[in-house]
Symmetry: C2
Subunit: 93 residues, 2 copies
Amino acid sequence: MAEQQENVVYVGNKPPMNYVLAAITQLNSGAQQVAIKARGRAISRAVDVAEIVRRRFVPDAQIKDVKIFTEELQNEEGGKVNVSCIEIYLARQ
Amino acid sequence: MAEQQENVVYVGNKPPMNYVLAAITQLNSGAQQVAIKARGRAISRAVDVAEIVRRRFVPDAQIKDVKIFTEELQNEEGGKVNVSCIEIYLARQ
């Protein structure tokens, strides 16, 4: 079933509206839920994206859950770096 | 009762460790819970602060809840600006 697939928008360094559009497209093509994910400095932008989608474009969408956690990444010298992550779950009512 | 008071750390543009220290101090002076709050670009830093406190300094603390929302602020010209906000609730077990 299509609903079982996870619909994800990865937020990076592009303008927020790019990701807003991606999330709206997913929600308007049958997805009941979309996960907006980001790491590091893009976390603030991910919150903006979720809020813009919910407030301006998809009024029946709600923040269902917000998860924060840390990922351990390998840097170029082979060392480890901890990066904060966020996952925001937006769901239609 | 002291526990009824809300213990808050407002995260701004200083280095994360300043806020980490503030949160640890509150948790170590009897607070069962501390709210880490931020707006706009400081949101990413607030997530870093919560994760550093939890992972490195207060292992029995857990992310209890994460709220995201939008605040309408007045800018200098009297216009309105929407700013994304986060509140992260860290609680001792």
